[in-house]
Structures are given as structure tokens and as C-alpha cells.
């Protein structure tokens, strides 16, 4: 009796869709694979060799210089790319966009090419900054272009984005061809963590910082996801929130491009899967998207290292195959629902 009274006095906790076990599973898998990732590679780095070699041994050295940076980079890239996709989907109000399908990545790549041609000696941070500025420009152009589309059709929006990306991509390729830089271009287009090591991965922390920014503004992005009219009614400065979102997207895209290259489909697939599980409330979705994104890339990176061991195949190949399959499944699944 007393408990019943107590319950009516305090407001009941808002019931959330209960999928806690899925979240726990993602967490456990992520932890396991992250630790596993530290010990996979040609050289012998294992708990045993670490103990026998001590803090001065080769194993410890490799762990600090190569394995740990790689694993950190993989986790942060996966998490932040997922968030970039999520934020973009909120801004555009379309589930089929991400930096890779809207021309943002292509714009950032063009910026990278420009730095190589114009400022060859620029530090990595500078390259990333230029790429981010171009990514921002790309996001802006895309948002402008889709505003001109009269009917905001579900599939038309990403199609326009892909076409936009195609145009910018071909301009980039043209210049790269003329300037004999096709090889660099090819390198960025193939996402891979094989060259990541200490001193060459720290920019992913910038991407991680953007995830924190996204988390702070999470409610605002949820509201913006319901449309400009809706957001304005609630007293939100729509343009300001969109601007913050654009910066988050551009910086994450640039940081990932500089450290690992292009990783397709991730930003598209992960937020969609999370949306199916727990819905579109950004505050609730962020840890899920970050966790699932990280898990996805860690798993793919481990596969990329193991399939032709001791050689590596590019991560983007693995991600592309699995991601494309997932994307198709999402598309077909959506069609079966009434729309």
C-alpha cells in the first residue's frame, strides 16, 4: 500500500524502450574486440610477451607505438563517423544521408588535394583544417541544393548528394591526374588503419571532441530533426543549431579522412540500425551510435588484418561489403512498411 502511494507522489520514470540487453551485448563485444585488436598483428604482442619483456621490451614498445594508437584510432573513427551520420540525418531529415553520400567527403578530399599542391609542407593539423573548411563548404552546398528540390523525396535527396559528390570527385580526379597525384587520391579513397601509429593518429581526438559537442547539443538536434517550423515554435534558433551540426559533420569527416581515409556506409548504416532499436531521440541514440559504430569498425579492422594474414586488405573493402549488404537490407525492409 505504502509503495503505491509513494509511486503516485513522485513522477513515474519515463518508460524507455527496453533494449538494455542489446546495449550490454554491444558493450561487451566492443570491449572484447578492442582488447583483441591490441594483440593482433605480425609481431608477437601478447600478455605473455608483455610480461616477459617488461616495460622496455619490444612487445611493450610495439603496443605503445603501434597497436594502442591503431586501436584507439579505430574505435574513435567508428564512433565519430556514426555520430556524423546521425547528425546529418537529423539536419536533413532523411535517413539515407551521411557525409559520404552528400558530397561532403568529396569536398574535403578536394581540400586535401589542394593542400598538397599549394602548401606541400603543411602540418597534418593544417591539412585537416583545410579539409574541414572544404567539408563545411560541401555541407552548405548540399543543404542549399536540396532546399531547391521541390519534393523532399526519401531517395531523391541522397541521389542528389551522390551526384554532387560525383561532380566534385571528378574535378578532384581531373586535377590529381594532371598533377600526377592520382596515387595520393587512391590512398585516401581506401580507408585503412595500417599506417596509423603514434604521432599519426592524434587528430581522431578532435573528432572525438565533436562527439562530445554533439552530445551536449543532443536535444537541440532531436528538435531540429522535427523540422524548422517545429524547432522555431519551441524557441530554438534553427540556423544556429544547423550551423553547429555542419561544423561537427565537417570536422569529423576531415579528421577521419586525414587519419584513415574514406570509410563508406558506416555513417549511413549505424544510425539506421540504432533508430530501429531505440528510436530517434538523439540524446539516447548517441551512446548507441558511438558504441555500435566503434564495434563495427573494430570488427572490420580485425577482419581486414586476419583474412590474408600476415598481409592486410584495406578496411574500406570489408566495410564496403558488409555495409552495402546492411544498407540494402535497410532499404528493402523500409519498402515493406507502408509509405
Amino acid at each position: 500500500m505504502t509503495t503505491a502511494v509513494a509511486e503516485t507522489v513522485s513522477a513515474p520514470a519515463p518508460p524507455r524502450p527496453r533494449r538494455a540487453w542489446v546495449g550490454a551485448l554491444i558493450g561487451v563485444l566492443l570491449d572484447t574486440l578492442t582488447i583483441l585488436s591490441l594483440f593482433i598483428g605480425v609481431s608477437d604482442v601478447s600478455p605473455a610477451s608483455l610480461i616477459s619483456g617488461g616495460s622496455e621490451g619490444t612487445a611493450a614498445f610495439l603496443l605503445v607505438v603501434s597497436r594502442a594508437p591503431r586501436t584507439v584510432a579505430v574505435v574513435l573513427v567508428g564512433a565519430s563517423l556514426g555520430i556524423a551520420g546521425l547528425i546529418m540525418q537529423m539536419l536533413v531529415r532523411n535517413k539515407f544521408v551521411e557525409p559520404g553520400t552528400t558530397g561532403v567527403t568529396e569536398f574535403a578530399t578536394f581540400g586535401m588535394l589542394l593542400t598538397i599542391v599549394l602548401w606541400p609542407g603543411l602540418a597534418v593539423m593544417g591539412k585537416m583544417a583545410v579539409a574541414a573548411v572544404f567539408g563545411l563548404l560541401g555541407t552548405w552546398v548540399f543543404l542549399r541544393v536540396i532546399r531547391a528540390i521541390p519534393v523532399r523525396q526519401l531517395v531523391l535527396v541522397p541521389l542528389v548528394g551522390i551526384m554532387l559528390g560525383g561532380i566534385i570527385g571528378s574535378v578532384t580526379t581531373f586535377f590529381a591526374y594532371r598533377l600526377d597525384l592520382l596515387q595520393s587520391l587512391g590512398q585516401w579513397a581506401q580507408g585503412s588503419f595500417s599506417t596509423v601509429m603514434q604521432g599519426r593518429y592524434e587528430l581522431v581526438w578532435v573528432a572525438a571532441a565533436m562527439v562530445v559537442v554533439a552530445w551536449f547539443a543532443a536535444d537541440r538536434f532531436s528538435v531540429v530533426g522535427l523540422g524548422e517550423e517545429f524547432a522555431t515554435n519551441l524557441g530554438l534558433h534553427y540556423q544556429r543549431v544547423v550551423a553547429v551540426g555542419m561544423v561537427i559533420i565537417a570536422v569529423i569527416t576531415a579528421a577521419v579522412l586525414v587519419t584513415a581515409g574514406m570509410i563508406p556506409f558506416l555513417g549511413l548504416v549505424v544510425p539506421n540500425v540504432v533508430s530501429l532499436i531505440i528510436g530517434d531521440n538523439v540524446r539516447r541514440a548517441i551512446p548507441w551510435v558511438a558504441g555500435l559504430g566503434a564495434l563495427f569498425v573494430v570488427a572490420c579492422d580485425i577482419l581486414a588484418r586476419l583474412i590474408r594474414f600476415p598481409y592486410e586488405i584495406p578496411l574500406s573493402v570489408i566495410v564496403g561489403v558488409i555495409g552495402a549488404a546492411l544498407f540494402l537490407w535497410l532499404l528493402l525492409r523500409r519498402r515493406t512498411r507502408a509509405h
Partner: protein
């Protein structure tokens, strides 16, 4: 009071709202009627600060909409448009919680939670609070949006065609609910309606627009007149007295 003074809005060379002066806030429910393209939705956008008028001013309780802070206006006025994003996978509770945004700025207090609970109770949505919006029927979803507006706790509520795509039962349900909100909670509601009989039954005052101008503005009973309605809609309308109430027939 929501006051529009000589408000004009043009898109290119077309004038959508033409020198309109109106005040809302004296009556519980004002129904805004008129044919498609009469400028009803544009009028809502002007009041809801989504569009800037080319001439004239709009004010809400003395605050000029053009210059007042948007968060402050959001605590006085709620505008619900017809294009509600039904595909969003937000729960009913999430949505109602967003209604508190102008007050909480994202950090919910006890007061906010109390408002949320009351709004959910008022709309009898307790059983559905954990459901996603895309899993609800049209009537339930409309109630969820109205609960959000209630949680927003504004004196003025503007609803753009809230009866769209609803069946007879749910249309009646929503209109009765609006009536209760006006009478019990002292809300001032302006609602765009296409069914003039609903307007006549539930509204205190009817404002009719045509081609950007106000062509009739009077207590409901006076607007329910064959000549007036014919002028508004440019189509023959009969008005009959049935059970002591005027009913418009336009099914000829």
C-alpha cells in the same frame, strides 16, 4: 492578445496576405476558414515567426514578433503545423518532453516533469507514452502533438488543420478536446478548419479569409449564412437549421 496590424505578405508578385488587421485572444476558440490558397497557413507562419511580413506588424501580448526573443515567444505562443514529421521514431513521452524546451532549455526540473505528466494525463496517453510516433494511429498521434503543446504551457495555441486525415470519431474527439482546453485551461485557441460545420459547432468566433483578405469576422452563428459562405468559398452553400443549430450543406 495576438494582434496583426496591416500585415501584408507577398511571394514574388502574388500577394498572399493582403493588409490584414486582426486580433485573437478574446475568445476561447477562433476558427479560421477559407478556401485553399486563401492565406490561412501563411498567416500562421507570420504569427509563428517563420515568415517576416513585407508590411505591418504582428505582436503577441505586446511583444513584437519580429524583434522579441524566440525563446520568450515560445512560452507565450505555440504553433502546430499540419506537416508534422510522422516518420520520426520518437516516443510520445519524448515528444511531450520537447514541449518543455522553451522553459527547461534541455534541463528538466520537477516543475517540467509535473507539466509533462499532467499533459499526458489530460490527453489520456499514459498507455502509449512508450510507443513510437510511427506506431500510433492518426488520432493518437494528433493527441500526442497536442499534449506537447499543452506541456509547452502557452496561453495561445495555433493549430493548422488538426483534423487532417482523421476519421469522424477522431475529428469530434479532437474538437471536443480543444473546447475543453479553452474552457477548463483558459487557453486561447486559433484553429484552421476546412469543415465549416465543425467550426460552427465548436468555435466562438469564425474568421473567413479569401485571396489574402479577411472577408468575414463574426460570432460563429453569424458567419453561418448562405450568402457569406458562398462569398468565401465561391460555391453554392445552403445553411439549414437542424436541432436549433445552423448546418451548412455543400454536397450539391
Amino acid at each position: 492578445m495576438i494582434a496583426l496590424e496591416n500585415v501584408t505578405k507577398r511571394y514574388g508578385s502574388t500577394t498572399v496576405v493582403d493588409d490584414v488587421s486582426l486580433t485573437f485572444g478574446g475568445e476561447g476558440i477562433v476558427a479560421l476558414i477559407g478556401p485553399n490558397g486563401a492565406g490561412k497557413s501563411t498567416l500562421f507562419s507570420l504569427v509563428g515567426r517563420l515568415l517576416k511580413p513585407d508590411a505591418g506588424t504582428v505582436s503577441v501580448d505586446g511583444l513584437d514578433v519580429a524583434t522579441a526573443s524566440s525563446p520568450e515567444l515560445a512560452t507565450a505562443l505555440a504553433v502546430l503545423r499540419q506537416d508534422n514529421h510522422v516518420g520520426a521514431r520518437l516516443t510520445v513521452h519524448d515528444l511531450v518532453e520537447f514541449g518543455r524546451f522553451p522553459h527547461s532549455r534541455g534541463r528538466l526540473t520537477e516543475v517540467d516533469r509535473d507539466h509533462i505528466e499532467r499533459a499526458i494525463d489530460y490527453l489520456e496517453l499514459d498507455a502509449y507514452r512508450g510507443r513510437f510516433l510511427d506506431e500510433l494511429s492518426g488520432g493518437q498521434r494528433q493527441r500526442a502533438f497536442i499534449a506537447m503543446v499543452l506541456a509547452q504551457d502557452t496561453r495561445y495555441v495555433l493549430l493548422d488543420e488538426p483534423l487532417n486525415n482523421l476519421d469522424l470519431r477522431h475529428m469530434t474527439e479532437i474538437m471536443k478536446l480543444l473546447r475543453r482546453m479553452a474552457d477548463e485551461l483558459d487557453k486561447r485557441i486559433v484553429v484552421v478548419l476546412h469543415d465549416i460545420n465543425f467550426a460552427a459547432t465548436y468555435a466562438d468566433r469564425i474568421v473567413a479569409m479569401r485571396e489574402g483578405r479577411v472577408v468575414a469576422d463574426a460570432p460563429a452563428a453569424e458567419v453561418m449564412d448562405a450568402a457569406v459562405l458562398e462569398r468565401v468559398y465561391d460555391t453554392p452553400v445552403d445553411v439549414h437549421e437542424i436541432d436549433g443549430r445552423p448546418v451548412a450543406l455543400y454536397y450539391s
